[in-house]
Symmetry: C2
Subunit: 209 residues, 2 copies
């Protein structure tokens, strides 16, 4: 399989989510329809898809389910087998909001555990997800095969907690704190806090919002 | 000023946040130090910074405060003047977690209002931020000059709410829902929900996490 460049990977991740929504509606989708939904050029979309092992149908579009499966296979984001295992670290208002409801449902990820420093808080939370003290990170992360963490701790302890998570085997961190994390090679951080997201909008659009 | 390409803009946004943390520690920073913190190559960092109106000091690095100011000026993300005005739409657990605490503090953004469909929920929330029913979006958004929205509503009404926000003048949406939004030209969406962030990590790292 061809190497897929990072910008294409990011677009394919988004495309996969769009296809999931389309699956309810129709069996095929054209690159112009994708273009209308995403704003990417026709050429960009065709080039991204050409990186996958999928038969294009220039005249009558792509089969939605097959295209989605090809993206999932190429990027290794296939759902099933219980999904890739993640944990939430920090159960303040934001962290605990991800415990309940549909945050992970239907995704390629499963929430295997959540951690907090406060036994009080853990006892007060009512959740189907197993909750642990952060002192148990060291044993629970390897035991459950967890490789991804969603970091929701206070900013001032974010780096220290990230260091611990990495040392226990975490390879990817969704960072909801306002701290920019320094991590070793081989560990990936995705900043998803609200100020980073707003700044990306303003920085990327370049307009005077 | 030179046009700044999107990937450079995104790196500069991150660099600006790193510089904010460095300002407490030291007055100057070299591209190798930035490289160690970010993983970007020295050449990439120098090229990004060359797009700004700032004097480089090849031998003794960049002045942290001046570099940060140059990025803020180039990307129009300068703090002050009360910041760019945003609102939160949807005050469930995630939306209401952004109301309190430090989510926006010290940033180039100010939270000017928050909206929910339920008067009950609004009455129960204790917040310094003015809270309104979503029926008031139409008047409050233009009256307060709000151009950015943080969308935290249930997935099934996300597109409908995005359409309304855009029609009332919103130009950028941070999307915490699992719905991929379709928006007109000139409106920017940044997806920041946990599954998108996790998928970006796995998709971008390309490793079998």
């Amino acid at each position: 399989m061809k190497q897929i460049p990072i910008p294409s990977r990011r677009r394919l991740v988004t495309l996969s989510q769009i296809l999931q929504q389309l699956e309810e509606n129709g069996a095929r989708v054209t690159s112009s329809e994708i273009s209308a939904l995403t704003g990417w050029s026709d050429a960009t979309i065709r080039r991204d898809i050409s990186l996958l092992c999928v038969h294009s149908g220039r005249s009558n579009g792509y089969e939605v389910a097959a295209l989605r499966e090809a993206i999932a296979a190429a990027l290794d984001i296939r759902a099933g087998n219980g999904g890739k295992r993640c944990c939430i670290v920090g159960l303040g208002p934001l962290g605990s909001s991800l415990l309940s409801g549909t945050a992970f449902s239907g995704s390629a990820f499963s929430l295997a555990a959540a951690f907090d420093t406060s036994m009080n808080r853990i006892e007060l939370l009512d959740s189907d997800i197993p909750l642990y003290l952060t002192t148990e990170l060291k044993t629970v992360i390897p035991a459950k095969g967890i490789t991804l963490a969603v970091l929701c701790v206070p900013d001032q302890i974010a780096q220290e907690m990230a260091d611990r998570l990495v040392s226990f085997g975490i390879r990817g961190i969704v960072n909801y704190t306002n701290t920019i994390l320094s991590v070793p090679d081989g560990v990936t951080v995705e900043n998803a806090n609200v100020v980073t997201a707003l700044t990306r909008i303003v920085g990327a659009s370049g307009s005077s919002l």
